[in-house]
């Protein structure tokens, strides 16, 4: 099996591309990231690993703008992310220059996925070790979208999804609890999913909310703490309601 690790252009006898699978492993080790699509709001959240005391946390932005109406969060190798994000930003402007139109979410997702796929086929270079969650509003119809790409270069649209560490638990939670939401409810759903696998508190999660009118807005730590407190209170109330009635008799 070890022989098929070397050059990524080589298939293994049972039809695997091992480098791509190892890249997916790298993603599974990356920080947790979640995306939720509401009717008028789309939310991205990432786990923030505790920053070193001397580090300036403002320079470690995990949710970035690709254009005025498109944002991206990723899980995996952050250095690879920088390269991919740079190429995507250039493509967003290049598209505007050549066709005088902003990109659609699907177009830029297909572009990023295409880049990721190229590095699974052209020999000699390893694939990008990251999966991305891309959100945005269609520039003309205003329809919100959430897409995911992975190191193999596949992409698809989602109502809600998670990637990175413990993504399975988050996805299970989302499958159980997803419903069409809007505004603050969408933000709460994303945070609740993230809190399933991340230590509670504004210090440990980074949330960004995108709306048609205001574009991307990063939430302050204080805001996140407030919402987390709301969620905990709701959870406590739900627990109490469950235990409450039987004791009455």
């Amino acid at each position: 099996m070890a022989r098929y690790d070397r050059a990524i252009t080589v298939f293994s006898p049972d039809g695997h591309l091992f480098q791509v699978e190892y890249a997916l492993e790298a993603v599974r080790k990356g920080n947790a990231a979640v995306g939720v699509r509401g009717s008028d709001t789309i939310v991205l959240g990432v786990e923030k690993k505790s920053t070193a005391k001397l580090q300036d946390s403002r320079t470690v932005r995990k949710i970035v703008n690709l254009d005025d109406h498109i944002a991206l969060a990723c899980a995996g190798l952050k250095a690879d992310a920088r390269v991919l994000i740079n190429r995507a930003r250039i493509e967003c402007q290049s598209h505007r220059l050549t066709v005088e139109d902003p990109v659609t979410v699907e177009y830029i997702t297909r572009y990023i996925a295409g880049l990721q796929q190229k590095y699974t086929q052209s020999g000699g270079v390893r694939p990008f070790g990251l999966s991305t969650l891309i959100i945005g509003f269609d520039p003309y119809t205003g329809v919100p979208s959430l897409y995911q790409t992975d190191p193999s270069g596949t992409f698809s649209a989602w109502k809600a999804n998670a990637t990175g560490r413990n993504s399975n638990s988050m996805r299970e939670f989302l499958e159980k609890n997803y419903k069409e939401t809007s505004g603050q409810e969408t933000v709460k759903l994303a945070i609740r999913a993230l809190l399933e696998v991340v230590e509670s508190g504004g210090k440990n999660i980074e949330i960004a909310v995108m709306t048609k009118e205001h574009g991307l807005r990063q939430l302050e730590e204080a805001e996140i703490d407030a919402i987390v407190a709301e969620i905990e209170a709701e959870k406590a109330a739900a627990e109490a309601a469950k235990k409450g009635p039987p004791k009455e008799t």
Partner: protein, 205 residues
């Protein structure tokens, strides 16, 4: 017969351009917008070869936007002016752009500024400037009446004086002008000065 001119006032800068799109003896349209809003606080007034003007200014606009996404912070006016000049200079000895530019911007710590960039890539930071045949008249009027720290009303009055000179003294004077302003609240259209109204609808770029 294109006219572009501009000046710096107290906390703002104005750029004025004619709005005729001309090919030989034919006027294609009289409501062409030649002052591009480069980003939230910059104006780029351009005159010259039609295709080059659109191509070059759009290219600069998209690169300025890209810088902002990459770095999370907008370019200063000086940086944008130097970048623009650099692009003109690079193309100069191969495939020159025949475009003259007045770049006006507002920076929070510096205030308003105006840059003169001509088609052979000269760059000058100026208080008042002009391009085209109209410059013979507008520069003379501005030399006579301009003083630093003008209010918006005084500046627009001076602009109207310049437009009056151009209309009365230039043999093929453009009929319509657009005035755009940039100040701490951003770059935006200020007014049109029309002597021939286009009947088909609102002015477009």
């Amino acid at each position: 017969m294109e006219c572009v001119f501009g000046l710096v006032g107290d906390g703002f800068a104005l750029v004025v351009a004619d709005s005729s799109a001309v090919h030989s003896i034919l006027v294609h349209k009289s409501n062409e917008d030649k002052i591009m809003v480069l980003d939230s606080h910059k104006l780029l007034g351009a005159s010259g070869e039609g295709g080059d003007r659109a191509q070059f200014t759009e290219y600069i606009q998209k690169n300025v936007a890209l810088y902002q996404f990459r770095n999370g912070i907008p370019l200063t006016t000086a940086a944008a002016a130097n970048f623009t000049r650099g692009e003109l200079a690079t193309a100069l000895r191969k495939n020159p752009y025949a475009v003259n530019i007045l770049l006006a911007g507002y920076d929070k710590d510096i205030g308003p500024s105006l840059y003169y960039i001509d088609y052979i890539a000269s760059l000058h930071k100026i208080e008042k400037g002009a391009f085209g045949y109209g410059s013979y008249f507008s520069l003379a009027m501005m030399d006579r009446h301009y003083h630093s720290g003008m209010t918006v009303e005084e500046a627009v009055d001076l602009v109207d004086k310049c437009i009056m000179e151009i209309r009365s003294r230039l043999v093929v004077a453009p009929p319509n002008f657009v005035i755009k302003i940039v100040d701490k609240d951003g770059a935006r259209e200020y007014a049109w000065r029309e002597s021939i109204k286009d009947t088909t609808g609102a002015p477009t770029s």
